[in-house]
């Protein structure tokens, strides 16, 4: 208990990890009550939920891959899939080597130290700072899955034209230079935004604002695709996108519910508002389309659902079901307008990463400042509508600005450096041929996808001849 107690001040302000007090005093209470040992002890239920959540968040990256891949042309389907899948390789290795340490090990207010480089010191025992009832490695793994999907989100903005090599370098550098410091500022012990009291339960700033703003900046620097909006640019396989949507929705329960780092009431509450916000946003999007275009679309449902999941992410541990309906409904209005603004402004954020993740994440972070209540999470804070005044809202706004500004500037630096060295875009004819062929030497759908031909064998010979009446002459 000692260790936990002395870190309590930091706790009260931190969002994600704020729940441990609850845990220690709640579920794990029985054990502690018995002996009052200071040492953290693994709770099998908390660990089960955290491991499971980790697996679910991992599954979100293939889900994202499909979500995106269905929306591009068939000639770029593998390229799009690869841009997500490769993050499962690149971001993992970086996280193991240096990322986790920079994000979570003790350090400055802006970035962690190097004490956990190569995962040294990250063992099977709990680390009370981040999860007093789960193996430290489980916490590290859970966070790793966030570090994987975040750079992958960016890929939607530069679909169908970016060099694969440059993309890989980009996300590698970005993981170190943008993600890890931001994660430290928001979630790390001693992190600057955490100390400030900005709340981010599961990654509205760290994951969504950072990736959304970086996506916009990168899309501007890479430039537009060469093609006009002709019918061939329509999504080539929306069932893929909907498979991805299902996987993302499922995984997001781990993303937000798992961020309780415990299997308790808060986890259930976060799970609940996550689902409600996604539903509300998906419905809202479809209704908007119904009004504007007279047609509610499947892609609109999927887009709305993801936008709702994005928006509830920072708020998920601090708000109740009614707020979730509002946050979900609101994000669809905001992101829908942002997409229409894109058409007018003319930049090519191909799959609307900025509109959905950037704007949706910002809305979610600010909405936390509106709806958060200590009735849900005693170590959170009260937002405007819970009688907390403007204080939290202001802190949330600072969080948004810092995350957006930091991610945007550093992304620009990385992107210009790559542009000057490796180049960012494939040549024009490679873009025409499609990146699957030009960059990966593959075809997503080769051969006749629809054809079988009848062999003779299944027909008995007699029957065959009976069917050829009167001979051939």
């Amino acid at each position: 208990m000692d260790r936990t107690s002395h870190s309590t001040p930091a706790f009260r302000r931190g969002a994600l990890v704020a729940v441990f007090t609850t845990v220690l005093l709640g579920a794990a209470g029985a054990a502690l009550a018995q002996g009052g040992e200071a040492a953290p002890r693994i709770d099998t239920g908390d660990t089960a939920w955290l491991l499971m959540s980790t697996a679910m968040v991992l599954l979100m990256t293939p889900g994202l891959a499909l979500f995106y891949a269905g929306m591009v042309r068939s000639r770029n389907v593998l390229s799009m899939l690869m841009q997500s899948f490769v993050a499962m390789g690149v971001a993992t290795v970086i996280w193991v080597v240096v990322g986790y340490s920079l994000a979570f090990s003790p350090g400055s207010p802006f970035v962690g130290g190097l004490s956990w480089v190569g995962l040294s010191g990250v063992g099977m025992e709990p680390n009370a700072d981040y999860g007093a009832t789960v193996p430290h490695q489980a916490f590290m793994l859970f966070q790793m899955m966030f570090a994987i999907i975040t750079p992958a989100l960016i890929s939607g903005a530069i679909a169908e034209r970016m060099k694969f090599g440059a993309y890989v370098l980009f996300i590698a550098v970005w993981s170190v230079a943008v993600y890890a410091p931001l994660a430290h500022m928001v979630w790390g012990v001693g992190g600057f935004l955490r100390e400030l009291g900005a709340l981010d339960f599961a990654g509205g700033t760290v994951v969504h604002i950072s990736s959304g703003v970086s996506a916009l900046v990168l899309a501007l620097i890479v430039g537009k695709r060469r093609t006009d909006a002709s019918e061939d640019l329509r999504p080539h396989n929306l069932p893929l996108t909907l498979i991805g949507t299902g996987m993302l929705w499922f995984g997001w329960f781990g993303f937000n519910g798992g961020s309780a780092i415990a299997s308790n009431g808060l986890a259930a509450s976060a799970f609940m508002v996550t689902h409600i916000a996604a539903s509300a946003a998906a419905l809202a999007w479809v209704l908007i389309e119904w009004c504007v275009y007279k047609k509610p679309t499947a892609l609109g449902f999927a887009t709305g659902a993801v936008a709702g999941l994005v928006a509830i992410t920072p708020a998920s541990g601090f708000v109740g079901p009614v707020a979730a309906l509002a946050i979900g409904g609101g994000v669809s209005v905001i992101s829908f307008c942002a997409i229409r603004a894109k058409s007018r402004l003319g930049y090519d954020d191909t799959l609307d990463v900025f509109a959905v993740h950037g704007c949706g994440g910002a809305w979610g972070a600010l909405a936390t400042g509106l709806f958060a209540t200590t009735a849900i999470n005693s170590v959170g804070a009260n937002g405007l509508f819970a009688g907390g005044g403007m204080a939290l809202l202001a802190k949330q706004a600072i969080g948004v600005v810092v995350a957006a500004g930091y991610a945007g500037v550093v992304t620009a630096i990385i992107a210009y450096a790559l542009k000057a060295s490796t180049g960012l875009r494939v040549p024009g004819d490679a873009e025409v041929a499609g990146l699957d062929l030009a960059e990966h030497g593959e075809a997503g759908y080769a051969g006749a996808t629809a054809g079988v031909e009848l062999g003779q064998a299944p027909q008995p010979a007699a029957a065959v001849h009976a069917s050829a009446p009167a001979g051939a002459a």
Binding site: A229, T297, L299, D352, A472, A473
Partner: protein
């Protein structure tokens, strides 16, 4: 011989097949194509972006027949493929110099009998 090449609505294929079969014609080749013409395309919105689809799904039916049958076959196809709405399609008659049945090597009209 003449190739009767009809561009029809996909949903009319079954009726066309039926009428050809009534005429005793079994052989035909069918291809999925897209066509433009007087029929207006349509507009779709994907995430707010507007796409105009001008090429509309059609089916091409090719039947090679004896010259003297060609006209009757074309008319029969036309009758069965007609809805009266714009977009019903066209039929073209194209001269064929020779026909050959791969299985037997037979040539001429017997090859398409």
């Amino acid at each position: 011989m003449t190739k009767v090449e009809a561009l029809i609505r996909p949903q009319k294929l079954d009726e066309v097949k039926a009428v050809l079969s009534d005429l005793g014609i079994k052989g035909m080749t069918v291809t999925e194509v897209r066509g433009a013409g007087r029929q207006r395309g349509f507009t779709q919105h994907y995430r707010g972006a507007e796409y105009t689809v001008n090429l509309i799904q059609k089916v091409k039916v090719e039947v090679v027949v004896r010259d003297e049958e060609a006209r009757a076959v074309a008319e029969a196809i036309a009758r069965s493929a007609r809805t009266g709405e714009i977009g019903d399609g066209k039929i073209f008659l194209i001269p064929v110099g020779e026909a050959l049945r791969i299985r037997t090597g037979e040539e001429g009209e017997v090859a398409i009998s």
